[in-house]
Subunit: 149 residues, 2 copies
């Protein structure tokens, strides 16, 4: 199913992880190849799901937003996929990661920088999601490094 | 210092968070404005640090990489900035976030999908960083949703 990722693919992924706005021309120049070849490889990486998306990383503090990470430990009997579907539909739940280890699910909430509203968001998750055993609440105050690969 | 973020800025940020590769032309069309105006606003958002970077979100499993989140609780006497500087220089530490709450620091490690190597990475953090009181270890197995704003 999944095509093997070769060195050129990895180079493209690394360049785009440094700056997702590089044009095909810039990428082709950096790699010593043609725009067409770069574009074809990127298409494949997108279609196979290796590239989930191109996005920006904002400084949420500067946007006057609060960024909360919840580490959820769910009871082992809980249907994780059902919980994920429920969380997906909540607008302020921005990131959902299935995990193994200390937490069964890590989710990120983003909302206006208002403590009363933040409390409401968190309590609403705690109330609506069945089977939460433990919830670690962590507020992100500063992003000091952000690389993906 | 920081210029007020207005509705047009927010629209640009939202569009780029959905797809950081939108061209100036595409953004201008979606916003009913000119490429020059979009470009000028993006410059300002970049220079003021509202946009930290444009990047891609990869499916690390498909790249045969492991993705570990460590929630670090440090002793209150520890100099957080010193720890951050130390962590920044470690290549496999990809994300560093200063936090308040359950953890003092959330860091993401990315490495080859090999349990022995993963254990080595984690133990090396535990050994080299002074003043870790508690370390929550969470393996990301699937990204189910990824939005930033």
């Amino acid at each position: 199913m999944t095509r093997r990722i070769d060195d050129v693919d990895m180079k493209i992924l690394r360049l785009l992880s440094e700056n997702a706005r590089y044009t095909y021309k810039e990428l082709a120049e950096k790699l010593g190849t043609t725009r067409q070849r770069v574009s074809r490889r990127m298409d494949k990486l997108e279609k196979s799901g290796v590239i989930i998306k191109y996005t920006l990383i904002p400084d949420l503090n500067k946007l006057n937003h609060v960024h909360v990470i919840l580490g959820l430990t769910l009871r082992p009997t809980v249907d994780l996929d059902e919980v994920v579907e429920q969380l997906k539909s909540i607008d302020y739940v921005k990131i959902i990661e299935k995990t193994l280890g200390s937490h069964s699910l890590v989710i990120h909430l983003v909302g206006p920088n208002d403590m009363a509203l933040t409390e409401k968001m968190i309590r609403s998750i705690a109330k609506e999601i069945q089977g939460i055993d433990k919830m670690d609440i962590t507020f992100v105050t500063e992003i000091c490094k952000f690389e993906v690969i």
